[in-house]
């Protein structure tokens, strides 16, 4: 299935040739339909998540447990990965290690080729998005069909995903109906001619369209939400059941999974199977949980390949502050609650990981050298709503500021800003000089304009008046009315 050229990804899941976040957001924030779609969708799920979480009295303890399990696993990641490899192999699977996106794509392509198949069905997976697998397969003459309903909408619409759980969140029902009506026939069974935009009708059209693909497919490609090291078991949670079709019907199953998805034991898994559905879809339990361990004679795929993906994760692990991003279980709660995501939309983040988690993950997986990656850590007001809802307590604002430091240090574009900040620090470290500046500003206040045409002040005064300077700074009022016991300098 063909996809637009802009979908070529770099490491970290950032697309080639994307503008920096502020430029992209300049357009998207003024797209009234997008804003309305996102507002409705995020506010609905936001409220539902809050209710689902409030039901559990021990939520704070579950959250703490999730955080600790992930941290401990990451600390001994090598050990758990080797254990996982051993168990998967013993159960009849084959484990491959991929250092980066190119290697992972090569491995998957050659595995599919070896089956003789020229098409695969896909379970929704962020890891395969991150490496641009569909495009790599397409280049090798292999068609990859997305089977998750929202991914299908994105793929049929030759669009880009804008959310990690609901990739078509930027579309409303009418738009989806249009996409189905005009595009389905190009890739298989057409949509019925009397298709309406009712959710039931749309789901039925997708079901019928996908069914022939499930029944025909010899190869499936998936990711995984969790991998249990002690038994070598893979876990995929989903709502639709399409994932289960892919995971059980084809002869060959290939799973591409980030190395941070391993958990030591089933007891640990229990914690995440409570945290994830409530945080992501606001369900007490997700409708489908598929677990498999290697292969079984006469049941399910005959061949199972696990491709363990690094692609910048080991480097992220080395960063003491940044590594907490690897705890992420991709629930998308942080996107749904983020005021910046809600207004700018997922596409403004320039890659497959949008929202708060994208703003800390993409620049770490790929480094802060690129235009998009360097802009992402600043795509936040640091309001902390993401941290508050994150089920594994990733302090996203802390990591954002940490990454801003890296950008300010390594990015020559920040030289002028650094000079300004240095000047500010000097002034603030010299209260006498500061007072003189404050007094000068107060004296000339009648001359100050309400707007300024240049520099950072332009960004301010495009939509806001500048504050008036007072007749005198506070420190002068104090001097006139009090004597300090300890005046300092």
């Amino acid at each position: 299935m063909s996809t637009p050229g802009a979908l070529k990804t770099l490491s970290g899941g950032v697309y080639l040739g994307m503008p920096a976040f502020p430029e992209a957001a300049r357009t998207s924030t003024h797209d009234a339909r997008l804003r309305a779609n996102l507002r409705r969708a995020t506010h609905t799920i936001r409220a539902r998540r809050a209710d689902a979480v409030a039901e559990l009295e021990d939520w704070p303890r579950l959250r703490e447990a999730g955080k600790r399990i992930k941290d401990q696993t990451l600390r001994h990641l090598d050990r758990y990965l080797l254990q996982l490899e051993e168990k998967v192999t013993a159960a009849g699977g084959t484990v491959h290690w991929a250092a980066d996106a190119a290697e992972a794509n090569r491995i998957v392509t050659s595995l599919v080729r070896a089956t003789g198949s020229t098409e695969v069905v896909k379970v929704k997976s962020m890891a395969t998005q991150e490496i641009g697998l569909n495009e790599a397969l397409e280049a090798a003459g292999i068609a990859a069909y997305e089977t998750d309903l929202a991914e299908l909408i994105v793929q049929l619409g030759q669009d880009r995903p804008s959310h990690i759980l609901v990739p078509a969140i930027h579309r409303n029902r009418r738009e989806i109906r249009e996409i189905f009506r005009t595009q389905m026939a190009r890739y298989g069974r057409p949509a019925p001619s009397d298709l309406t935009d009712s959710p039931a009708d749309l789901a039925e059209a997708a079901r019928v369209h996908l069914r022939e693909k499930f029944l025909r497919a010899k190869v499936a490609v998936s990711g995984a939400n969790f991998m249990v090291a002690e038994t070598g078991t893979m876990v995929v949670v989903e709502s639709e059941g399409n994932g289960r079709m892919c995971l059980t019907l084809p002869e060959t199953l290939i799973s591409v999974v980030g190395i941070e998805k391993v958990v030591p034991s089933w007891r640990d898994l229990e914690v995440f199977l409570q945290l994830l559905p409530r945080s992501s879809t606001a369900e007490r339990m997700n409708p489908y949980t598929t677990m498999w361990t290697g292969t079984h004679r006469g049941d399910g795929p005959k061949e199972f390949h696990l491709v363990l993906l690094d692609n910048g994760r080991t480097a992220t692990l080395a960063d003491e502050v940044g590594r907490q991003a690897l705890r992420c279980i991709r629930c998308s709660a942080c996107l749904n609650v983020c005021p910046v995501y809600e207004r700018a939309g997922g596409h403004a983040y320039g890659g497959v990981y949008p929202g708060p988690i994208g703003a800390i993950l993409a620049p770490q997986l790929a480094g802060v050298g690129g235009t998009v990656e360097a802009s992402l850590p600043f795509a936040s007001s640091l309001c902390g709503a993401c941290y508050e809802v994150c089920p594994v307590a990733i302090d996203i604002p802390e990591v954002l500021v940490h990454l801003r430091e890296q950008v300010a240090e390594h990015n020559s574009g920040h030289r002028l800003e650094r000079a300004g900040m240095r000047g500010a620090t000097w002034l603030l470290d010299h209260p006498g000089a500061l007072a003189a500046v404050e007094r000068a500003a107060a004296k000339t206040r009648a001359l100050h304009p309400r707007t300024l045409p240049l520099g950072p002040a332009k960004g301010w005064s495009e939509s806001r008046d500048l504050p008036d300077f007072p007749a005198r700074p506070f420190r002068d009022w104090w001097k006139a009315n009090h004597t300090s016991e300890m005046s300092g300098e």
Binding site: F21, P22, A25, R26, T29, R35, E320, P339, V340, R343, A344, P377, F378, A379, S380, S381, L382, C383, G384, A385, E398, V401, L403, R404, E405, V407, A408, E409, R418, M421, R422, T425, L428, D429, P431, L434, E438, A441, A457, G459, W460, S461, E462, S463, R464, D465, L466, P467, F469, P470, R472, P473, F474, R475, W478, S484, M486, S487, G488, E489
Partner: protein, 251 residues
């Protein structure tokens, strides 16, 4: 009890009335408050923009300026959050970089003594009704750092509810960020303005005359947007409401 006022750079230079109100209000409650002139800024703009090392001189300055006080009262939640949450991080990073423990000590010594104004009133002084009079309809925006980092919770609302003459109306979507975010407001002006527009629309819909907050940096952004929109709604810092009495109206 030795109490110092940390006015903050924004209040010192742009909103002296908030700092004056804080002093008057504390003095009315019998607290003798001092203003050490060596104080300037907590360093939040530098730190949050990625210039941690440039924040360090200000950490040291804050620690020196406020040495010896039992409490350092601040009418700005985000500045308190900066000291409480980020000063220890600045210290830890300096240590990890092999530059010793001095900043950690400075941070540890200062952070527990720095309190936000409504925390000081409710938790330290144990007062909710402080005899204020303010005959206006007011809605309250809880700024993010006060709300989420400090956990101010109901404190500001309890104080406002006890003000005579004041009618408090609930702000829809109160917990959503106003879009200020320090340098975010200029680095991402479109998103910031979109967030601000929603906030002032919510505030205007309450029918309040005044939009109250406990952080003048957020209010500066919102006030700038309200004035640009020629809205009759004005912003006011909670200290200025609490300082008003029947004898002495707001500064």
């Amino acid at each position: 009890m030795r109490v110092a006022l940390f006015a903050t750079c924004v209040n010192d230079a742009l909103y002296p009335n908030t700092a004056i109100a804080t002093v008057r209000l504390l003095e009315r409650l019998g607290v003798r408050v001092d203003f050490p002139a060596a104080q300037t800024c907590c360093g939040q703009p530098q730190y949050n923009t990625g210039y941690r090392r440039l924040t360090e001189p200000l950490v040291n300055r804050m620690a020196r300026a406020f040495a010896g006080y039992d409490y350092v009262v601040t009418p700005s939640g985000s500045c308190v959050a900066m000291v409480r949450e980020n000063y220890p991080r600045i210290g830890a990073k300096a240590r990890a970089e092999g530059r010793g423990d001095a900043l950690t000590h400075a941070a540890d010594e200062l952070a527990p003594r720095v309190v936000e104004l409504t925390e000081f009133l409710v938790d330290v002084l144990g007062v909710v009704d402080i005899g204020a009079y303010y005959p206006h309809t007011v809605t309250y925006h809880p700024s993010c750092h006060g709300l989420r980092v400090l956990g101010l919770g109901e404190r500001p609302l309890r104080l406002l509810r006890a003000v005579r003459g004041l009618r408090l109306v609930e702000l829809p979507g109160a917990e959503e960020c106003c879009g200020f975010g320090g340098t975010f407001a200029v680095k991402n002006p479109d998103v910031s303005a979109a967030m601000g527009a929603d906030k002032i629309a919510h505030a205007a819909a309450t029918g309040a005359e005044l939009l109250c907050g406990a952080d003048n940096s957020c209010l500066m952004h919102l006030d700038g947007m309200l004035r640009r929109a020629d809205s009759p709604l004005r912003t006011v810092h909670i200290a200025e409401i609490l300082a008003s009495t029947e004898q002495e109206a707001a500064v």
